[in-house]
Structures are given as C-alpha cells and as structure tokens.
C-alpha cells in the first residue's frame, strides 16, 4: 500500500517486555496520518495491545483504525462495537476453521465509500455502457461465486468456539499460561521474550545459546509441537537482537500435564546440546 500510495509506514516502538510504548504511539499521530493499523495480539510475543486506548487516541484525531484480530479472535471475547474499531479482520484457519476464508468487518460509512476490489457476477446493480452502478453492501465486495464451502466451515468453527464460550476459553488459557510461565521461568537456562502482564497463552523463548532450530528438531522428535524461527516478525526479532525464538502455544484443549512434558523435553534439549 505504501508503494502504491506513496505513503510512509511508521512503526510503534516496543519496550523490553514487548509492549508498545504508548507515548511514542501518540507522537506518531499527525494530521497526515491516514490509518492506524495494529494487531490485537502479537503473534511472536503474545502481548495483548491496548486497542481501546489506541482507537480512542486515533479517533480524537479523526483517524480510522484497523485491528488485525488474527491472533486475538480465538482467545477471548471480541466486541467490535464496544472496541469501536473501524475495521476488524481475521483469518478462518486461526479460529479452527478452514483456510482460504477470513472475515473483514468494516464500518458502513467506510465500506460505502470504498469501490469494489474485483469484478464479477452479483457485484453490479445496473450495467450500461455509460455507467455501471454497484450493488449494495455486502454484494459489491462479493463478486462471482463465493467460497461457500469455506463459509460453512468457518461458521461451524465459530459455533464450536461459541459453544465452549469465549470467556471459558480465555480462563482456561490464562490458567495454562500462568502455569507454563511459572514452570519455564524456573528453568535457569531459559530466556522468555514478551513479558507483558497482558498476554495470550503463548511463550516465546530461547534456551541458553542453543539454536531454536536445534531445539525445535529435538522437541519435534519427542512429539512436542512448537514453532521455531522468526514467526514472520523479523522487526520484533531485530528489536531483541535475536534471529528467532521457540514458541510454545497453548490452547484451551491443552493440559498442565502437556506443559510438564514440554518442560521435560526442554531438559532433554539442554542435556543434548551442552
């Protein structure tokens, strides 16, 4: 978008705990700011961003805000009206749904202003050679044959999540996070990245100077699924002067016993590489 619109992308800096520095954010807002776009949750560190505060500050300068909820939607209750964001987006596969489908929520006043991003059946209202008028919302954004298979799958996934209850999910995951943070913090050889008091249930860490890739391979062999690497968040890695982390992501269906297995696995990794 910056290339196309000749816009300048400016980044909100983060502190050592992996939280955005709010005063620095405020300094970035100016009359030329067109859009504020933030993640609800950092996928690399787990930090939950203060989106309400971010939105309020932007709105007081009439700047619309887009919230990327891909990492936030599945971990707790989200109310776009209360949040008052102008756009909220997430992908289906991050909330146990199928790939290839996602959700874009936008306030009507912005969506009305926006032209269709592609052409196809159903998106036009009237076609003459002189002028084409577009169909009303949401049809003007739904050209051609919809990915209804994905939509049905995503609908089922959302029903599943709602059935468990988003508050329940948040509670179970926070309980696991607390347990895992205590257990992992007790290991001297571990350094945790992302120490905000407001986090979702992931722990990004490194073990001594063992390469995350080596550790990941051994954990994998023990049947423990962690992600290793930069998590597509190179700027965050650069901020901490590292080239990747090991990330353990806990979900409501994980158990404390599984956290214990992870801790055991980490012990084995330390043994193998020291």
């Amino acid at each position: 978008m910056c290339e196309r619109k000749k816009a300048t992308l400016r980044i909100i800096p983060i502190n050592d705990d992996g939280e955005i520095i709010f005063d620095e954010y405020l300094k970035l807002l100016n009359p030329r700011t067109k859009l504020v776009s933030v993640s609800q949750v950092s996928n690399a560190l787990g930090t939950v961003l203060p989106v309400r505060k971010i939105i309020n500050a932007a709105h007081s300068a009439d700047i619309p805000v887009l919230i990327d909820g891909a990492q936030g939607i599945q971990h707790g209750a989200v109310d776009v009206k209360k949040m008052n964001c102008d756009f909220y987006v997430f992908s289906g596969h991050k909330i146990y749904g199928p790939t290839g489908i996602g959700v874009l929520f936008g306030k009507e006043k912005y969506l009305d202003e926006m032209p269709p991003y592609q052409g196809g059946g159903d998106m036009v209202d009237k076609v003459t050679f002189e002028k084409t008028t577009y169909n009303e919302l949401p049809f003007k954004f739904e050209a051609g044959t919809m990915n209804y298979v994905g939509a049905i799958g995503l609908g089922k996934a959302l029903e599943y999540v709602l059935g468990i209850g988003r508050e329940n999910i948040a509670e179970m995951e926070q309980d696991l996070l607390k347990y895992a943070t205590e257990k992992l913090s007790a290991i001297n050889d571990i350094k945790i990245f992302g120490k905000s008091g407001n986090k979702i249930s992931i722990i990004s860490f490194l073990i001594n100077n063992i390469h995350q890739y080596d550790a990941g391979m051994i954990l994998d062999k023990m049947g423990i699924a962690v992600r290793t690497g930069t998590h597509c968040a190179q700027p965050v890695m650069d901020r901490f002067g590292i080239d990747g982390t090991i990330r353990a992501s806990m979900c409501f269906y994980n158990t404390k016993e599984e956290v214990d297995i992870l801790v055991e696995g980490i012990g084995k990794v330390i043994e193998m590489f020291s």
Partner: protein, 143 residues
C-alpha cells in the same frame, strides 16, 4: 575412497542406531568434525539461500578437485553439512555433478526433516553441485 563407498559407510554407521534420538546425537557429534570455513568467508556471498538456519559454504578449487568448508549456527545443521562434505569434498567437479546422493534417503534423513528443512538440505546439495558445474565449465573453457 570412492564416493559411493563413503555413502555406504555413512549408511552403515547410521544403521547402528535404532532410535532417531541417537541418530541426532550422532549428527551433533559429526558437526564437531566439520572442516570449518575460514571466518573471512562467513559472508552473505557464501550464505546458502533457503535454509532456516544460517549455512555458509565455501568451495576451493585447485584445478582438479573441489574442497568444501562450511559452518552453520545450528548444530544439527552442521552435522548434516558435514555429511555432505564427507561425500562431496575432495572430488572432481565431474564426480560431484554425477553424484547420486542415495545415502540421504537411506539413512532416513529427508523423511525426518520437516518440508522447509528438507528444502534447506536440497539447497545445500544444489549449491555444491552448482559450484561443481561452474568449475567444470571454467576448466573446459581454459582447455
């Protein structure tokens, strides 16, 4: 020793271990034997693209054979590179170009790596073969 003989030896060495954990331990040991690259070659030019961990590979051609040195920031990767070097280093460009690296599948290395990591392994092999092709072409031109 013949290139295929070296491969067979590696296959024999790995067959001793039943458990993949022991095989990894063996890879870690092998990593320690890797002929280490001169630090001045640890630059972007010698970095292999497509690996999750950093891998540097340097070829040295004396007009007849290519000698490889390498390094990686990950220890298991260092073990894997060291296997490739055992097989391919000290060979003529023609030998490297024609090498059929059957040991990789025979020791189950590829099956035990995730797809991205397996691609990294293939990148290393390709890079070594590309150097061989380059030196081979150069030698033919000079003759």
């Amino acid at each position: 020793m013949e290139l295929n003989q070296v491969q067979n030896n590696i296959v024999d060495e790995f067959s001793v271990f039943d458990d993949w954990m022991d095989k990894y331990n063996f890879l870690i040991e092998l990593g320690k034997e890797l002929p280490v690259i001169d630090p001045r070659f640890k630059t972007k030019d010698f970095l292999i693209e497509g690996c999750q961990s950093k891998v540097w590979l340097h070829p040295d051609f004396d007009g007849e054979i290519i000698t490889f040195t390498a390094d990686s920031d990950a220890i298991i990767t260092r073990g894997i590179v060291s296997l490739l070097i055992k097989v391919l280093s000290g060979r003529t460009p023609q030998e490297i170009i024609n090498a059929d690296l059957f040991f990789i599948d025979k020791i189950g290395l590829r099956q035990n790596l995730s797809p991205t990591r397996s691609n990294g392994l293939l990148s290393m092999v390709r890079q070594m073969k590309l150097y061989a092709i380059a030196y081979d072409t150069k030698t033919k031109k000079n003759n």
